[in-house]
Amino acid sequence: MMMSRPGKSICMIAGLLVLLAAAIAAFKICVLHYSFSRSVNAELWVMECRVRFMANGGPVAARLSLPYEIPGYYLVVTSQTPGYAFSVQEHGGRTLSVWEGAERSGPQSLSCQISFIPDGGAGTAAEEKPEAPERPRWPSGQKQFAEQLLRSVDPEGKLSIPQFVSALFKQIRKGDNPAVSVLFADKRQGTPFLQVVRNLLAMRKIASREAEGVFLTDKRRRQSPSFMLEVYYDGTYHRYDPVSGTLGTQKDFIPLRRGDEPLFALSGGRQAKLRFSALKTNISAAGLNRLRGSFIEHSWLMDIIGYELPISEQNVFKRLALLPLAVLLIVVVRNIIGLQSMGTFMPVLIALAFLETGLTAGLIAFLLILAVGLSARALLTHMNLLMVPRISAVVVIVILLMKAISVLSYAFGFTQGQSITFFPLIILAWTIERASMVWEEDGPGAMFRQLAVSLAACIPCYFILNNDYLQYLFFTFQEFNLVILALILLIGTYTGYRLTELKRFKPLVSSCSDHS
């Protein structure tokens, strides 16, 4: 059964629709990092940052400066701190979280949640080769100690950079070198310590930088920010733990700051202490898509996709998302297979009702309503009613019947009985009307055949509509509906034989069938 003589323009329109759908899907996958896979539940880290400080009695302003994006993650900051106005600004590729409060005194506490949203594997940009560091300026009299220290670390000047760095840290940790005591006299930790180390490295023309960050692990609760030394060689920065002097392989370390801008700045207060606690949660792929989507500046795009609607409306669209697929099934059943159902889209509507009632309970209820409705309709036939009153009477009977089923099932302890009200009333009444007409005109056989076809189409519709993965796929990639539209258009031009016709017209090609 070939597609023969389809209208060229329809083929073109269908092709354009498919291309458009592919383009939108590609955009979602490549730019928004949407995923076809629903089963992959992404890890989502939420880090709580708590700041305690003493307020001086005047207005307070606190600022947490975080990168907008770090390799592998987007960062999103939210906060509910009572008594403080909280705002998030973006500035120079960083997210500035700002708390402002008036007239504070005494101990204060601020907090915010930082969500680390996996960016779907966007690669890290290659590090640029830093310029050779400037010759450091030492405080008076320290330069000779520095030179002496370097000499004791690497007397012949032959060590490679990694060897040199680890040897240097070893010397510093040993502490028996008098130069170390002078150089690091009051600079045992933090930025001051790292600054001395960096100066020492700079004397050897080794580029380095300071990083401040946190460990993204469940194990460390209430951690304060850690400092790391990053040394450039072999085309990239290597991270050293300044405490142990070991080359860091800590993959969980997330640098929040590099360079001079402080991670946290406070005015109107003192003795600020930052504490971070990380919490790992799982998030559905759809939720992840939503979070990623919130990073796209053109939020109208997201509006179209439907994520920005209120939850209740979104659920309506989730239902609708799969209807085109069910409708396509009907088109195939009628125009490719060639079976007649009772009412074109009746199977889809009944399948929608089955979603609420469940398949078995729904089928039983449907057949029950149909059977009783048909008997009632048979009684009405004898009354010779006009058509609209007759169908209206069937509607009323169907309502009473639904009520009766609900009450009975409740009495017997079946809760499914309540969901029967989801059946489309008018469709049921029309189905009864049509079934009784077919019965009268073409006999009960024809009616049961059409009913069987309707139910046979209804059940796959139900499984399509009820499929979570398809629902995810078609809700997330609504553009697939354009592909369905294209298919429907193409089937609309299909002039080949229907499957049932191959059987129906068999006598026309088998001249010997009379003898067999």
């Binding site: 059964m1 070939m2 003589r5 125009n335 060639g338 010779n384 006009l386 058509m387 609209v388 005109e441 073409d442 031009t493 299909y494 002039t495 080949g496 034989y497 229907r498 499957l499 016709e501 191959l502 059987k503 129906r504 017209f505 068999k506 006598p507 026309l508 090609v509 088998s510 001249s511 069938s513 009379d514």
Partner: protein, 320 residues
């Protein structure tokens, strides 16, 4: 098991080679392409068809009148008092639904085609049903059409179980392309519709002689109720049937339709009704495909045969 199941199906290529027309192609390439929607009332409304036929001189059953409103229904006897027999039809009915044939009546007694007698009340409620749209397409409000009863030729009485046998001729661009006679059966409840179980006997366009016969899509040789050999069927005045069908093409603006014709004992062939979506079972009855015939006609330039007579001559020369 699977093999026998498969052998119940013909291959698409075999059907194509046999020139069989499928439903999708009929709808797409013929009905949608040649029948404009706005002309459908010409065939869907029986009164309109009748008026057009009258104007074009196409013979139809005599019109008694029509009842459009419920309050007129009780007066139907005034309408029918001068007619010995009459037929009540829904104006927008299809497939023979809602047709009531009264052979004779006397006072308040009406004798139906099958011999049973009914009273005023039954006819009144039948008219009520028609007006409420029970038999019309899509349930629209309808009117009841009263026609004179056709005294159909006795020659067919052995071939039909009750009901009026009629002849369906498919006309494409004015050419009669395929014909069959439809015979009511017990199964079809006296109605002449193939899908309800009537027998379809394919008739040669050339001479009106029976070709093959079909009932419920299966080949048959005898009428299931009367037992008559269907090959003995003879249609008199065959050429007049073809002329009538070809003239219908001139009076309505549809390119592809079926003309249903009955044979009246005195008046000869009469147009019963027209159908803008004639079924495909006629191909099985003829053991021949429609598609090859339609494509032959499509290959002719529209101006090739200007007159109906020429078109009929062409069809008789090419279509058996």
């Amino acid at each position: 098991m699977f093999g026998s199941l498969l052998s119940a199906f013909a291959s698409p290529a075999a059907l194509r080679n046999a020139g069989v027309l499928g439903m999708n192609r009929r709808n797409h390439d013929y009905i949608a392409a040649y029948n404009r929607r706005r002309y459908y009332p010409m065939v869907d409304d029986k009164l309109v068809t009748k008026e057009l036929a009258l104007k074009a001189g196409v013979p139809t059953a005599g019109l008694i009148g029509a009842i459009r409103f419920q309050h007129e229904a009780k007066n139907f006897m005034r309408l029918t008092q001068d007619s010995p027999g009459f037929v009540i039809k829904p104006g927008h009915g299809s497939g023979g639904r809602g047709i009531l044939v009264i052979r004779s009546h006397d006072g308040g007694e009406f004798r139906k085609a099958d011999g049973s007698v009914i009273g005023f009340q039954q006819i009144y409620s039948h008219i009520t049903n028609i007006l409420s749209g029970l038999y019309s397409l899509g349930g629209q409000v309808d009117y009841a059409l009263f026609e004179e009863c056709i005294s159909f030729s006795e020659i067919f009485s052995d071939f039909s179980f009750q009901g009026v046998p009629d002849i369906r001729i498919i006309v494409f661009r004015g050419y009669p392309v395929m014909a069959m006679m439809r015979l009511a059966t017990r199964r079809s409840d006296g109605r002449a519709n193939l899908h309800q179980g009537a027998v379809g006997v394919g008739l040669s366009i050339r001479n009106g002689k029976p070709r093959k016969a079909v009932m419920l899509d299966q080949p048959v040789t005898r009428h299931p109720d009367t037992g008559r050999m269907l090959s003995e069927l003879v249609v008199p005045d065959w050429d007049r049937h073809l002329e009538l069908a070809a003239r219908c093409a001139e009076m309505i603006k549809l390119g592809y339709f079926g003309a249903d014709i009955v044979n009246d004992r005195e008046k000869g062939p009469l147009l019963l009704e027209l159908n803008a979506r004639p079924g495909l079972g006629i191909q099985i009855a003829n053991h021949a495909g429609l598609r090859s015939r339609l494509e032959l006609i499509e290959s002719l330039p529209p101006s090739a045969m200007p007159s109906a007579a020429e078109k009929i001559a062409f069809a008789q020369a090419h279509f058996d």
